[in-house]
Subunit: 412 residues, 2 copies
């Protein structure tokens, strides 16, 4: 190799520019890191049941896909940076039907719920500021926090307490002078936990006492079971300046690829800041805004049917899991995820083994090792997240695989 | 007002959480800040010719809109975080036809060119690092740099030098131990300047000497005039680890609302880092990926026609501008923008006056005051950017307005 001279002195190897610390410290997606093993299994001819990712097999309503198919636009133009005004006005109706009173100027349409999370963190927290999140939590919260230089402070919810909100004392202990916000997902991904009114009041008290923002991810609002109803953080009293609602159409309408979400708040300063981030990226995608706008007009029985389907899948999945010796699985109150503790040494090793070395009737299953949803190292090492996004027949077959696999794995 | 106690002491006003410094210091879009005045003018019944924003009136090719209309998907799924593999493979053909040899694993499909810019800055620069950008430059570069805590170091290109790349000595003076990258847009927005092979070699030398990344925004690649051809930074010798190509379909196919771009590099470390940011936001929008993939198969005469149209618009706009006493306008070599110096005290005041107080035959025009494209305060105060995105008839009428307006304005 030649000797090169560059600004940093003499090198005896080819010099090259160095990536950022931020880039190297970004966490890889824990949901996607087993993907190469799944691809290899499929190449070997093994059927893989995907319970690892929240990609539903439920069909996107034809009426809303047709709204895109029937568009007669001549030019695919930028929309307003906050999204089409007609769509935002339509969403006002949607939120009103869900007991959330907002006007269309309090809504910024985002590129997926992901961008709503990013705008909230960027608008409210500076590098070095802290955000409290009950763990386990949606892993990408940490990705966006890392990209923004924000420190995640986890507080513990546990499988033994069915993942209930930790007591107020846990929050009090976690608050420092750098704490700016608390983030929740309700109903929760990955635990399926649905917060009670009392738990939301605890969050309210702590936010008001310490002047904290409350970021409330309500992507799964429609999917609450056992007759319980969802309470939006937007309805908490005296919290108009504290709450930012983070939303998405992805799960609600099986429209994950649309990349349409919403950032909703009554805090004008936050809206003004978020709008500047929104303007920098010009506009959210136009096609899927048309789809989202059409979705607000879907007949009410759309949710009745989808809800019944997820409910039945949940009941099947959880009853099958509980029937397996050594498996622990709290009943999820909402969303379409269940967390289970398995009788294995290490759930990541087990999940990889399922894809690399196991098959039953020509099939195996893919789950998300739960360690990726915990911020604290070493937590959740025997747990997995299962998304009940497949039809009941497939869930049944996936559970056959899991039952058989645990027998084989523990005999090794 | 009641007295409240909170973590920061006693307040005699209602406490509320405070937005981030990052949020308050984000620059508002200079292109969009006159929008309220334009809306008011339209409400008064005045026709507004929009030369302020790069939103072409050229129709999106019907064949690519039809590709979206004819999609038979059942579920609008997440795509791969790097974008559909089929689309990336298609783009390999597109780039090869433009003398850029890459494979599909060196391409990450992004949500607009905007996200490609963000990924490049996030992957390569840490807070406090510096990026050198010849000014005037696309204003959102500064927005993304601000959101990432990165310091923009401008070097001067001037209307008197036709916005040519500053000499290598200007770069040498600007390089510090914190410099990580140089960003260019070629052909340039806002100046329309097309870099020569010699200028690109200057950039190459400085990047290799100081181990810098070269971010090359080539959104307007197809629109070069006077028989000159575009040279991609990707073709620069020994720069495989330095160059990141930032791209978008927005301008090329009049598809701004699709929000599809690309991040292209041969540097594997950069690709790995960018993929983690890509995974955090899950996937780029699916519908417009279908459109982008179809676009690669458009017949070659699509660009022949569009190129001829922009060329004719450029010639008309520039000849009209030059015919107005006191107006200076270098001939742009590419893209669809021209910068002009006007005989006015302050171009922002003048642009606002055009919308608030002026009309000619029931119409006025909107231009982008150039100060927003300069990083150095006080620069470009008499300049405006004009986008020749309207048909020739409209451009002619807009120039009638401008000619008349300058007479009236300077008599005030």
């Amino acid at each position: 190799m030649p000797v090169h001279e560059c600004s940093r002195g003499l090198y005896n190897f080819a010099p090259m520019p160095v990536i950022s610390h931020r880039g190297s410290s970004m966490p890889p997606s824990p949901i996607r890191k087993l993907v190469p093993y799944a691809e290899a299994a499929k190449k070997r001819g093994t059927k893989v049941y995907h319970l690892n990712i929240g990609q539903p097999d439920i069909e996107t309503p034809k009426a809303i896909l047709d709204a895109v198919r029937h568009t007669d636009m001549k030019v695919l133009e930028y929309s307003h940076s906050a999204g089409f005004e007609s769509y935002r006005k339509k969403l006002v109706q949607y939120y009103a039907a869900n007991n959330v009173e907002v006007n269309h100027n309090q809504i910024i349409i985002t590129t997926g719920g992901s961008e709503a999370i990013l705008f909230a963190i960027m608008s409210c927290l500076d590098p070095g500021d802290e955000i409290i999140i009950p763990e386990p939590f949606y892993a990408n919260y940490n990705g966006f926090a890392t990209s923004a230089g924000v420190k995640v402070v986890p507080i513990q919810s546990t499988i033994d307490e069915n993942f209930a909100l930790p007591p107020i004392s846990a929050f009090e202990k976690a608050v420092t002078t750098r704490t700016k916000a608390i983030m929740i997902c309700n109903p929760n991904n990955p635990t399926g936990y649905l917060y009670s009114e009392e738990e939301l009041r605890v969050l309210r008290d702590i936010c008001l006492k310490h002047d904290l923002f409350l970021f409330s991810d309500e992507a799964y609002r429609e999917f609450c079971y056992d007759g319980r109803t969802h309470i939006s953080a937007m309805t908490l009293e005296d919290m108009e300046d504290n709450v930012i609602l983070l939303d998405t159409i992805s799960k609600r309408y099986s429209a994950c690829g649309g990349r349409i979400g919403a950032f909703v708040t009554k805090n004008q300063q936050v809206l003004d800041a978020a709008m500047k981030f929104a303007q920098a990226r010009l506009s959210p995608p136009s096609f899927a805004q048309i789809l989202g706008e059409a979705a607000v007009d879907l007949p009410a029985d759309y949710f009745t049917e989808v809800h019944a389907e997820y409910n039945a899948r949940r009941d099947l999945l959880v009853s099958r899991l509980k029937a397996i010796p050594g498996v622990k699985c709290p009943m999820p109150g909402g969303a379409f995820y269940a967390m289970a503790e398995l009788p294995v040494d290490d759930s990541e090793k087990f999940c990889q083994w399922l894809l690399e070395d196991f098959s039953h009737n020509g099939a195996t299953l893919m789950m998300a090792p739960a360690a990726g949803f915990y911020f604290t190292p070493g937590k959740g090492g025997k747990e997995v997240r299962l998304a009940y996004v497949l039809n009941k027949e497939d869930i049944g077959k996936a559970m056959d695989c899991l039952e058989e696999a645990l027998k084989v794995y523990n005999k090794k």
